[in-house]
Each structure stands twice: as structure tokens, then as C-alpha cells.
Subunit: 198 residues, 2 copies
Amino acid sequence: MTSHDIFSCKKHISIKLLHISMIVLGIDPGLATVGFGIIEIVANTIKPVSYGCIRTESDESIDSRLLTIFNEMDEIFKKYEPDCAAIEKLFFARNVTSALYVSEARGVLRLLAAQHDVSMTEYTPNQIKQAITGSGKADKRQMQDMIMRLLSLDEIPKPDDAADGLCVALCHINTTGLMGSMNSIKIKTRHNIGYQNI
Amino acid sequence: MTSHDIFSCKKHISIKLLHISMIVLGIDPGLATVGFGIIEIVANTIKPVSYGCIRTESDESIDSRLLTIFNEMDEIFKKYEPDCAAIEKLFFARNVTSALYVSEARGVLRLLAAQHDVSMTEYTPNQIKQAITGSGKADKRQMQDMIMRLLSLDEIPKPDDAADGLCVALCHINTTGLMGSMNSIKIKTRHNIGYQNI
């Protein structure tokens, strides 16, 4: 390969990278609160597009709360058209009743992914911690600090469930190698991207 | 009250009963198999309208299997327009992973009830056994024999999950007093009702 060839090759890759745009949706599931974070990959940068949470009222029936989650997350799928999605896996048995309710909400969220033809990957809490901080034993505060730094946010995303949603999305980007290693990511600042918290 | 009053009263009740028609959907939830049974109450009789099961393939993704359950049960809701529904409650913790998957399917089924504005009641396995046989300790065979007898079927409904779906529907009819006590139910025979197994 000549230096010219190398230059052409690099240019070609660069042009290809400029056209790569991918929307990743991360979900922290629950019945009372569903956290979500949406991150866009453009060329070799990532930018938070939106984050927030869906809340349901405890005095409503379970069926009605599941319908609220379905309707609101359906709007998010339609608005942001994610290319792929990731969701936190349940990994506890301390409170079985609570786990069963969260699973019902997870069922509705996974159904939505299938309806929108979006592949959804599961990650355990430890996998998410490992991917964001390098340690499977990181606490919530360490995770939040890291997500703020990685996404160049002025402050820790609130509420916690929304920050968790962003962590799940970033975990997926890192784990699948969508952007290479996290260290090499050139991150746009919040002010460049028109991010919003819906 | 005179004998005439009693006659009028009885006649009035009879006329009212003749106009009562209610479709009850019973569901035995699962990820691999969802059993269902549909029973119609007309006046003071009950008749099985349909029973069967939805199956999903184990080599498909969970999301895809949940979508199959959603689409097929949605068709059942549209076709039979149930007035109310009942579903078996999860009541075990031996295999937590399995329970979580069944819960995801339950979430999809409960979502459908909410989307079709149908109230869905939960019953534990013991409540269902008690309502059908009078004993919370009845085994599967006793339940199947009882459902065959109560619905005047020529044979035990197959597969087991479909029979379980019919049991859940009958449990709801009995528990809510929709037909008074089970002993007073006048049951139409299979040949009168055009029941079908879909």
C-alpha cells in the first residue's frame, strides 16, 4: 500500500464515519418509574439527545399503569426512532413481588421494541457499572459522576432513573464497540447538541 | 308479598336474566404457552365459546415471542369482545428466572386488557382450585374432570393450558357471583352452542 493509498483509505473511512449516525435508547425499567436515555452517535462523537422518566400513579390499577408506560414509551420510539435499544436486566430475588411487577413492565417495553423492529439487548447492573466506570462495584454516585463527565453535562442528570437510562445506553455503546473504546470518544458538549430533557 | 307479586317478581327477574349476556375470558399465562378459555353467560346458563392456546417458539427472541402473544391475544380480544377477564397469578419462587419470563408475558396480557378497556382480575392457583372443585388441594386431573363435567364437554379439554384457561374463567364467574353458586348453573351441552377450539 502506498502513502497515497493510505491517504485514500483514511479519507474513505473518514467520509463513511461522517455519515454514521445511530440513535441508542437505554432503559431502566420499573412499574412506578421507567428511566430512559437517548444517545446519538455521529461519526466519532456521542451526544445525549434526551433523557427523562415515565411515572405511573400507585393508586391506579397495574393494567392502567402498564398502559401508561406503553403509550409514553411508544411516543419516544416514534419521536426518536432508535436504531437499537438496551435494557437493564433484573438480577435480584430479595423482593419477589416487586421483581414480578418490574418484569411485567419489562414485558411491555420489550414488546414495544419488537413492534418497532428495534433490537433490544439486556445488561445486568454489574455489566453496566463495569462498562461505565471500569468496576462492577461502583456505587450510584460514582456512576452519576461518570455519566456527567462522559456526556459533558453541567450537572448530574436528574432524576436518578434518567441517569440510569443514559448509563444503560452508554453501556450498550461501549460493550458492542459501536464507538471503539470509551476513552477514544470525542464528546460534544451539551451546548452544541440541543439536548433536551422531556 | 302476594303470590301474584311473587310471580311478577320472578317473571321480571326471568326477563332480566334472559337479556344478560356476558363473555368471560380466562387466561393461564406463560411465555411458551398461553392458555385461554372463553365462556359466555346467557340468562342462567353458561356455555364454552372457545378455548385453545397460543404457542411461541423457544428459538425466537423473547421480544419476538412477546409480540406473537400480543398479536394473537389481540385477535382474541377483537373477535370475542370479552366483558371481563381473569388471569392466574404467579405464586412461586422455585424458579425465579422462569417466573420473570412468565411475568413479562403477563405484562403484555394485562396491557391488552387495558387497551381493550376490559377489567382483569387475578386469582392464585389455590383460589382457582377452590372455586372449581371446592378444595384448594385438587390436582390437575381432578380440575380437568370437573371442568369437563361443569361445561358438559364430551372429553377433557386439550391441551392442559386451554383447560386451565377455562378453569380461570369459571373461577371468575363463580367467585364474583356472576351466576350465583356453581350448583345452580344450568349448563347447555356442547351440541347446542357451536363452541370451537381455535
